[in-house]
Amino acid sequence: MGETRKISLTVNGKSYEEEVEVRFHLADFLRQKLGLTGTHLGCEHGVCGACTILMNGKSVRSCLMLAVQADGQELTTIEGIAPSEDEMHPLQEAFRDNHGLQCGFCTPGMLTTLLEFLEDNPDPSEEEVRIAISGNLCRCTGYQGIVAAALDAAQRLRDAKGV
């Protein structure tokens, strides 16, 4: 075991204090230390986007930062986006209804990326959606269902806000 450090952080509203090896990247920390295996690891060099999470509301690749760098930060992973145990987020509903996923490997990264994007751009064009998810690879859907789901989710979120 190499050099370790104690870090404290908030993940999905819950506080954690953990001793972590400094060379652990954040994705491995979330999966192996916290047991939050919803964050997936595809390439581990920043190409596939599967490990995307939200840090202080901004989408980041959790394989491209060290766990120690998340000390004091607030994270949201795929496990934390639904409002409750038996209720889904409108973005999750839109993915289900539009065949936005098949195997589900890329889905956590797609959803976290789109959460930040739709916050910044509540009424995007199809092209803007395609650029927003250009850093997330999907090998099942051909992206059509994902783009449709993102546009549908944008509409649902706008309806919910009454705009």
Binding site: G2, E3, R5, E21, V22, R23, F24, H25, D28, E44, H45, G46, G49, T52, K58, S59, V60, R61, C63, L64, M65, L66, V68, Q69, T113, E116, F117, R130, I131, A132, S134, G135
Partner: protein
């Protein structure tokens, strides 16, 4: 866990960073980590010590000065992308940033990290070359400034000394209303460009070009300024055929070749990207200026 074992340091001041660089064995600076982290994960680099710059005070800023803007080395690409000052004073950088990686990487990636990594195809070094940026380095002997043209000394190798840190970038603005364009050819949006071109133009009331800058990225070991083309552009109007003819000179660039694209193909792309950048920059130039 993939990175090799290392000791981790997160100093709070530039002075501490320089001191650590001087005293630690085989150190590596960690800025946004969007290039270094993949290299650590794949063990392309195995430093004994990582010096994380994210807690260093005073390295993230975008400030206006008399002639242009000063940017801190640890300024996030995201902050540059959404900066109104950058849009106004250095619109070429805004154009380029749209093509730098993806939203998730721009949220962590920094300008100083990108310049220090110095990938030949990266967008921000090409913008600095186009703008004749000045790079600010700090070391044990204090601060020194070097023109970007002297910054790359070889493939992916900046002139930064082993005990120095890139603290800032100074960019001189062009005249308000100047034309600008950053064009690149990549396999997918956000990928590293196979070839890119950055153009800056100033145009007089009659539509004649009075000042020109043309940079080609991804072809040579570092961004290449096309000085001869720039000189020939002076006095020209926006005739695309003339641009096409002048851009043929890009075939002479000493070009890299790899499994993705041969050197001949990169040279060919350079002629096309350069012409497109000039056409777009010319169309954007305000002739009343």
């Amino acid at each position: 866990m993939k990175p090799p074992p290392f000791s981790y340091h997160d100093p709070g001041t530039v002075g501490e960073v320089i001191n650590l660089l001087k005293t630690l064995e085989n150190p590596k600076l960690l800025a946004g980590g969007q290039s270094l982290m993949p290299m650590l994960n794949m063990r392309y680099v195995m430093p004994d010590n990582i010096i994380d710059l994210n807690k260093v005070d005073g390295l993230s800023y975008i400030e206006e000065n008399n002639t242009g803007i000063n940017i801190g080395g640890m300024t996030l690409q995201r902050d540059l992308e959404f900066s109104d000052l950058i849009k106004k004073k250095c619109p070429l950088m805004n154009d380029a940033l749209q093509q730098v990686g993806h939203r998730q990487t721009r949220n962590r990636g920094t300008i100083g990290g990108s310049l220090s990594h110095l990938d030949p195809a990266a967008e921000l070094p090409a913008v600095c070359a186009a703008h004749d940026a000045v790079i600010v380095l700090q070391g044990p002997k204090g601060e020194r400034e070097i023109p970007f043209s002297d910054f790359p000394i070889a493939y992916m190798t900046p002139a930064t000394e082993i005990d120095e840190l890139l603290t800032g970038v100074k960019i001189t603005s062009w005249k308000d209303g100047h034309g600008y364009a950053f064009i690149e050819f990549a396999r997918r949006h956000g990928d590293f460009a196979i070839t890119s071109a950055a153009a800056l133009l100033e145009v007089d009331g009659a539509g004649a070009i009075t000042r020109a800058s043309l940079t080609v990225g991804g072809v040579g070991a570092a961004p290449v300024r096309m000085n001869e083309i720039e000189e020939s552009l002076i006095g020209q109007s926006g005739d695309e055929d003339k641009f096409r003819e002048l851009c043929e000179a890009c075939r002479e660039i000493d070009a890299l070749g790899d499994v993705y694209a041969s050197s001949e193909y990169r040279q060919h792309l350079a002629t096309v990207m350069s012409r497109r950048a000039l056409v777009k920059a010319y169309a954007r130039a305000n002739r009343k200026g």
